[in-house]
Symmetry: C2
Subunit: 513 residues, 2 copies
């Protein structure tokens, strides 16, 4: 139970602790505070911005919060820190308070569960509790939710591009150190079916996937054997899991013909060969030619697994090229596309192109004499001004059952009983839209209560259920919003009450200033 | 001592284990093998490709190798995996062998130490040992060395752009989950002076850095106080560490004037104010105006800390704009630039723009009947063909003491005793360069022996020494190679013997094929 110091409660920016000590010194450390976590922009990969995100990371964040508590070792380190004149930065009374109170058992949390489709400016997570501990949580909360949501989103996009065919997460070797574990889990939540990450798969209780690398074939050749010998050895040991990497020598002249020889033997022995993996060259062209060879040999159901720097754009391109080349080859493109599997590494696990989600954690209000006072950062544009108060985000579904907007309302508002829904643009005056109750098929609150003063009030669902939730949310998302390139903008709106409150506060602060 | 399953030896791609079992089954698992780790391309941020890298990650990799060993829990998980017909993927005899032998105590390692400037195709790490365990190591080795080297490199570039001024690593909240610990350490190796990551700083034994966020000022305002009150409270508690964030309301009209009021009080009390931090707006313009205000108030030595999405390009731009604006304001640009400090977050910790280093781990040779047989992947272009055999990389310094080329030679070659050095282009026939011995000031071997059959034969230096090594290497690098935009290409060459051996092998394999 001895957590490493870098994984415990000191997994935070130092300024959270200097601020906590200041609050302690001022007697404000236990002042009830509310912070909202949200992101302002979808990930943007240059030519192609995402049109939606998939929430992830919550369960592991709460696991971390459960374990993190301020220890003697933490106090000992902070006691060594000094200001520029050599005097201590942290005093003993504050460190003693932290030893007694330095955990997250005082915090309440409401959040949108993992696997849900989410959009900008909607509060994904709301933290309420004593100012000092809520502030200290900021760094870990953002670290864990930003990255996981980024990767779940990328996985969903890649899976969309792959038309729902199997996507395998293969990114460990290029990911960011141990972050690949959280990233691999997020990929599974977002759209990957399996991961090659063995330890992570063990932790998640799902099968890890993988077969062999070029090095295996090279080792055989170096020892005086052939590619066929290597394939034969593999088939002998894994007769019911025989997926062969065919590009070590030459895909069409050596790899695929050798694989077919092996498959024929396996078939005679009563085994079903799984397929081949292509890892270099013109993958679209090689897929069509490989399918042709496999079909002629009677292996029309063998999978064709692609890998090598794939992402949603290259998959789109490969599928579009296959549609052209299949026709020229007199083959059915859909049948080829239907048997493809995608092993995606670097681009998925790092979200390369836009490797960070800019989620923020903003102080929304503080309790003063029993009244919640809003906190606003005045310098920011009205577009960046956070929405004040305790809020409930709702999702509104149209008659077709598709999500048409998210509505951020104040706590206690009952949009489902309104005759007409008023949806105000989040930052532009006078821009709003209204929906008659009879155009709406369902109005659904998005938050779940996760923690109530540190106690879990939510049962984290198993991964399959999270995946099912994601699939359901994606099915109810307009096809234009899911488009990989230039998606439609999904509407996130404010209720009239929230809009009015926000304007009132902005006015009040303008006068103050 | 119970390592979590996802952090132990199963922190590897499944295919390493399926291959290991195949080698075990064939009796090849203990065949001596050599793998080289190297990268082929510098990180490329679109408009600006790196001209050098800085090696990092080695000590933490070796720490991980020390702890990682195959456990009963690992065996239990692998025993649950099945092929498509439902039969087990891993047999008991292999899992028993892994329980007895599944650690890295059989491996030897030679590597270029952390903090050294490194270049493409040079073997950064060489692993020698039994084929099965060397293969299983691949994933973790690449995961830990690729990411750390990527981030150390980015930190070095950012520090170059910052003209050696202090760079602070502030990226935890946007980095990739717990990977930020390895990334923060790499940033310190590459050029950052300190990190805000408290636990990591504790582990590294260096002071964490940070002061306060906007939320502190907002909390004061929400409770009916002012920005000045917030600054005063901060100064009371941290009189010798008083760095104030001045953009919560308005930088020039409120933040800086309020900070100056506080600084004047501190000065009277005998404290030296540290400075101000600017986190929004036109940072170059605001820096010049802030310097003007601070100077008039007698705080010409107060630091100006910048943050907000910085990277090497934005720092270049800010400095260039300050040069223009300072002149217009009748101020000395160099004095302003000299007092600046840069807090760099997202772009550093994620290496956004190119979030992965494509380092690879290639089987180079295998021992057969006491003879090392080279392993070559025949399908690849000659440019991608790995260099065969056991090699020593050397660095050649010219008369000015600047590094002029890295020379990859076969083990046993003695370039320092040659009268004329023959440097062959790594992949193009007939392109070579020669250097007379009297044009050379030093020839230095780059590898250190790190592990000898699992035993550490190298003392990992403290971080300051690694930083000093990095500084020394950067000082001996041509200024054109260090340029942020379109750097000169540094020469990495092969010795004639290595070139000839490589060609011989390519020819031999072509005939075989």
């Amino acid at each position: 139970m001895s957590q490493k110091i870098e994984d415990g409660i000191l997994f935070t920016d130092l300024y959270q602790l200097t601020m906590a000590q200041l609050y302690y010194r001022m007697g404000l450390h236990e002042t009830p505070a509310q912070f909202d976590h949200f992101f302002r922009n979808y990930p943007d990969y240059g030519s192609h911005q995402a049109g939606f995100c998939v929430a992830a990371g919550l369960e592991w964040l709460v696991d971390w919060m459960d374990e993190a508590r301020f220890t003697q070792a933490d106090a000992d380190y902070l006691a060594t820190l000094t200001g520029n004149a050599g005097n201590r930065l942290f005093a003993d009374d504050f460190l003693d308070w932290m030893k007694a109170n330095g955990d997250f058992s005082s915090l309440s949390m409401r959040a949108i569960p993992e696997g849900r489709v989410v959009h900008p400016n909607v509060p994904l997570t709301e933290i309420e509790g004593p100012l000092a501990m809520a502030q200290i949580l900021e760094t870990a909360l953002l670290n864990k939710l930003n990255y996981a949501t980024l990767i779940a989103t990328r996985a969903a996009r890649i899976s969309q591009a792959a038309r729902g065919n199997t996507v395998l997460e293969f990114g460990m070797r290029r990911g960011h150190d141990s972050g690949v574990n959280a990233g691999g889990r997020a990929a599974i939540i977002g759209g990957a079916a399996f991961s090659s990450n063995t330890g992570l798969s063990a932790k998640m209780g799902i099968p890890a996937k993988g077969t062999h690398a070029h090095s295996m074939v090279q080792a055989f050749i170096a020892l005086g054997y052939s590619e066929l010998d290597a394939f034969q050895a593999y088939a002998d040991i894994y007769p019911d899991n025989c997926l062969l990497l065919v590009d070590t020598i030459n895909t069409l002249e050596s790899g695929v013909p050798n694989a077919i020889k092996i498959f024929e033997k396996l078939k005679k022995q009563g085994h079903r060969p799984v397929g081949v993996r292509l890892d270099s060259g013109d993958l679209a062209h090689l897929t069509v030619e490989t399918a042709k060879l496999l079909n002629s040999a009677g292996f029309a159901d063998a999978s064709i697994v692609l890998s090598n720097g794939l992402d949603e754009m290259s998959i789109l391109q490969i599928i579009s090229q296959i549609r052209e080349e299949a026709v020229q080859a007199g083959m059915d493109a859909n049948t080829i596309i239907g048997r493809m599997v995608y092993g995606v590494g670097t681009q998925l696990i790092t979200s390369n192109g836009d490797a960070a989600l800019g989620g923020v954690f903003k102080l929304v209000s503080l309790e003063k004499n029993g009244v919640w006072e809003p906190a606003i950062k005045i310098s920011e544009s009205s577009q960046k001004t956070p929405n004040p108060g305790r809020k409930t985000p709702w999702r509104i579904y149209d008659k077709r059952g598709l999500a048409t907007a998210d509505l951020i309302a104040l706590e206690g508002e009952r949009p489902q009983s309104a005759e007409k829904l008023h949806l105000h643009h989040p930052s532009i005056h006078g821009v709003s839209r209204s929906i008659q109750a009879d155009e709406v098929s369902k109005i659904e609150p998005l938050h779940a209560q996760i923690l109530e003063e540190g106690q879990k009030t939510y049962e984290f669902p198993p991964l399959e259920q999270i995946q099912a939730q994601r699939t359901a949310d994606l099915e109810r998302l307009d096809i234009g919003v899911k488009r990989i390139i230039h998606p439609h903008i999904y509407h996130v709106s404010l209720s009239k009450k929230l809009w009015d409150l926000k304007q009132e506060l902005i006015q009040k602060h303008k006068v103050k200033k």
